[in-house]
Amino acid sequence: MPLADGAPLSRAPAADPAGEAPVLEVDRLEVVFDTRGGAVHAINGVSFSVRPGELLGVVGESGSGKSVTMMSALDLLPSPPARRTGGAIRYQGRDVSSMGPKALRKLRGGDIGFVFQDPMTSLNPVFTVGYQICEPLRAHLGLSRKQARKRAAELLAMVGIPSPEARLDDYPHQFSGGMRQRVMVAIALSCEPRVIIADEPTTALDVTIQAQILDLVRDLRHRTGAAIVWVTHDLGVIAGIADRVAVMYAGQIVEEAPVAAIFAGPRHPYAAALLETIPDVEGERPERLTTIPGQPPILRAPPAACAFAPRCAHAFDRCHAQNPPLADDGTGHKAACWLRPETVAAAEAGEGAR
Amino acid sequence: ERGADGQVNIIYWQAVSILNPYLSGGTKDVEGASLVLEPLARYDETGTMVPWLVEEIPTVENGGVSEDLMSITWKLKPGLKWSDGSDVTAADAVFTADYCMDETGGCQQVANYADVASVEAVDDLTIKITFTVPKPVPYGPFVGAQSPILQAAQFADCKGAKAPECTDANFGPIGTGPYVVAEFKPNDVVVYEANPHYREADKPAFGSVLLKGGGDAVSAARSVMETGEFDYAWNMQVEPEILAQMEARGIGKVISAYGTSVERFEVNMTNPDPDLGDLRSTVEGGPHPFLTDPKVTRALSMAIDREILVEAGYGAAGQVTCNVLPAPDLFNSTANDWCKTPDVDGANALLDEAGWVVGSDGVREKDGVKLSLLYQTSTNSVRQGTQALIKQMWQEIGVETELRNISGSVFFGGDPSSPDTFQKLYADVEMFTNNFDGTDPEKYMANWRCSEIPSPKNNWLGGNNPRFCSEEYDALVQTLAGTAKIEERAEIAKQLNDMLMESGAIIPLIHRGRVAAMANTIEGHAMNPWDSELWDIASWSRAK
């Protein structure tokens, strides 16, 4: 555990992630919620993977299923109402759902760290910050109380909290929002996970604090070489830190590509529209903001047609009849849209049919 | 042999509060103290006075009572010892009388010392009591459980205003009785141990007594006759079928004895109409619209089937009676025995005759007045059963009844500001039980004199709840006070009783006995309605 002495922790160089085997793979995941109003098909065949040292950004409208996907990676969905109806999640090639409770616990917090959206409510208000950081250390690494405390202080220092020793005995409410989120990051990092899943970790924070967290993550990523899945709907954040981006819509990934590629030329109309909606602090100020008309659908059944079709300006007959598969154009830029030739080709080849 | 039978467990569902009977007249307290403190003479199970700490009962015949009935002289048995080993002397008796007659002490038995002029110790063993008036029955002081002898040495500093502050003495009096107090938790439990200086060497057979209090009568009965945790339970006011079922288990039995208690109606002779305001239920407020008519009250009495009341609520603990003075036998009148057999037709006829006609709603009325009664009593399941039964019986003769029950602590508490006390009688009829101590009814019968009517003027004090007033009756009471011969006294008392019955001011219902539950293994106890129930505890023993 060389974390203390500041030596680089990298288990793998972050330089060329593409060459390595993925640590976390989500394969055609399907999740259904049983609600009083009937079943909601929240996730419909989501597949992606991350390699060590890689940062995958996941964007998408509210309700598109980002959180549900991430939670099911750790089997954290409340069940009922959640029900996994298909697909698999593999950590280092092992299927998460077939793990026993013990292995699953080791996975949670041990191998995969999780940072949640709302730092205000994600920490238990009645336990000290120190206790909450020590908990996984003692459970997963079997540290003694003393060791765990020492390590917790190091972690706090690492996420940039001044006088960490003293702050271990503070309660979450004594921390500001940004500091709390840093504590969450510290907890996620505590057991040197190989994967960190961050579900909108900065959405609730100020720009200045957000900038601090982003810096922290950039730094950590290079030091520890962990794979990171970063969920957000702020494309600005993605632009700054991600290697690859996946765009989700209505429980599916509609586009996935290296970050530069997607900002240079989005291929799915939803991704394009999303990019257009955000104003910028620099450059030309548009007369009106572009909006994506309409609302995302609530899926009572798995989508038979393109889920974005009702809101899409380019939709044509096929869009309303058949759901396009996610297809790669050979450069690692995938999109699911009938306007893309590779999609049509893939559908005809019969592969990737959902 | 003393102490050979171990412990006897007694349950009183009203717990003992204090062991000084002079500071609390409550039956439970008096009886709790009676294991320790003893009088000079007491009544046995037949009501006969028996010498206790004296050689014999003083009478005019044996010279113990002076010819002019102005004094009585008691002679203590020699060699009596207090439980601390000191001698019992006449001075103790003198002190006891002083103690109770001290105006500032709040003595609750002061009525026993009525008309006492002085108490002197003639010598160590001779006590002479002098009265201010001739006393045909001079057995008030030092007779019966209410008036035992206290040890002068123990209570010397507790006279007058200081009496309540002597907690140690009041909770652990030194006495001459078979037991001494070992532990006392007020309103909870008393533990007694055998008195080492008790005058009869082989008694008591039980080395200790546990007197537990609290709860209710049914569960007390259950602890004796069903679980066997206790040996004796007092005052079983319980529906007879429950007792019968318990008795069937064969662990214990119900025992009873009859004294002078009578459950009766006291009938309001004055008008309780709320519209009268302050004059309500006073003589000034005028007579009752219909209850002053003896025909009405007689009809009410005739309509009641007392046998049913006994069967439903009393069983072995009650007998039908037509007198307010049913005992001792000598005093029991037979003039009113018509009431023993119910006669609904007769009652109806009587009311018809008096001009009360049945209205459309089945209620009789006359001149716009309805035969509608408010019937109050204290809260107690047997009484509420009786109320319901009588309501129905009266319904059959066209009398409408509204029932009301009032918590005993209010009903019998004389708070002059409460409208619900039995003295105020803001109702048409009320039902409760009364009796008198000992065997002489003089004081008891004096209750119904005109001067005893409760009213705002005397702060509602007085025993004449029916507001019955007859000069003839008052005169007869006077005569009784001057009569010494027992047969003559009985005759007069019966006449008084009959006058009350005829006027309808009192409608007697049931002659109530004392009932107790006792384990089958207890021997040597005779149920005594005239004195403390535990009067003979020295001779109790357990069957082998």
Binding site: P293, G294 | L389
Partner: protein, 316 residues
Amino acid sequence: MTDAAAVRPDADAAAAADAAAAKRRHSSPWRDVWAQFSSHRGALAGAAVFAFMLLVVLVGPFIHDVDPQKLDIRAKNQFMSWEHPLGTDNLGRDMLAQVMAGGQVSLAVGVTAMLLSVLLGTAIGVTAGFSRRLDGPMMRLTDLFLALPLLPLLLVIIMLFRDTLRQAFGPESGIFILIVFVIGITSWMQTARIVRGDVLALKEREFVLAARSVGAPGRRIITRHILPNVLSPIMVSATLGVANAIITESALSFLGLGFPSDFPTWGRLLYDGANFMTLTPDRVIWPGLAISLTVLSVNYIGDGLRDALDPRIRGR
């Protein structure tokens, strides 16, 4: 404005299928409430049981027309028979008739006393929670009522009011009013405390601020914004209140405060029957069952109502 207009039809296009249903669903808010209520299985069962009991209690006496006060000492302590379906008590009164007659009184007392106590508790809790100035005094008042010795207080109340009420309303309704009053004013404290806590939290919520910003006066804020949102704890208090009132009523009769002694109520029947438990068990089983069923059904109705009145749950 051009594309704002374009937004609208599109925005709703997605929910188009929904909208028709929505229109139907929102035709009447009360129908909604009923629809939600009736989809709550427990609530429906509770309502059915409660309705059944009401029916038995109100209509039963016409079918089994025995006078509950009629004594027949010869037929006392009987077990179930055709003549006396639930047996008789120790004075030979018919138990079925008594249970039915008692039910009328007990249900009436239970429900009205509960309403009074809940109203009082809510009023005091809301006042205390809403007004900073009145909070202290109101909570001290609550302490006072919690500390007051109940029995003497009751005795004072009887002494002061019984005869007046008896004259004004007749013996039975007078006593009824008195009992409801007494139970009401001695059992509101718990409700008040709970409601106050909720109101304290609620008044900091943004929609209350919003109401203030449009100029709504305090009383309207309370009635429109605070009260509907503290319904849930009030419902719980109400459920427990019914049981409490039914039992308390029987205790009151021992102070001479209750109904006349020949007037059956469930609590009274249970109390009187307790000593006869081993002799005639039906004397306790039936009134006990009646009380428990009432409380249970009221509890489930309360659950259902709470859900039904909450549009968030209703929508789901």
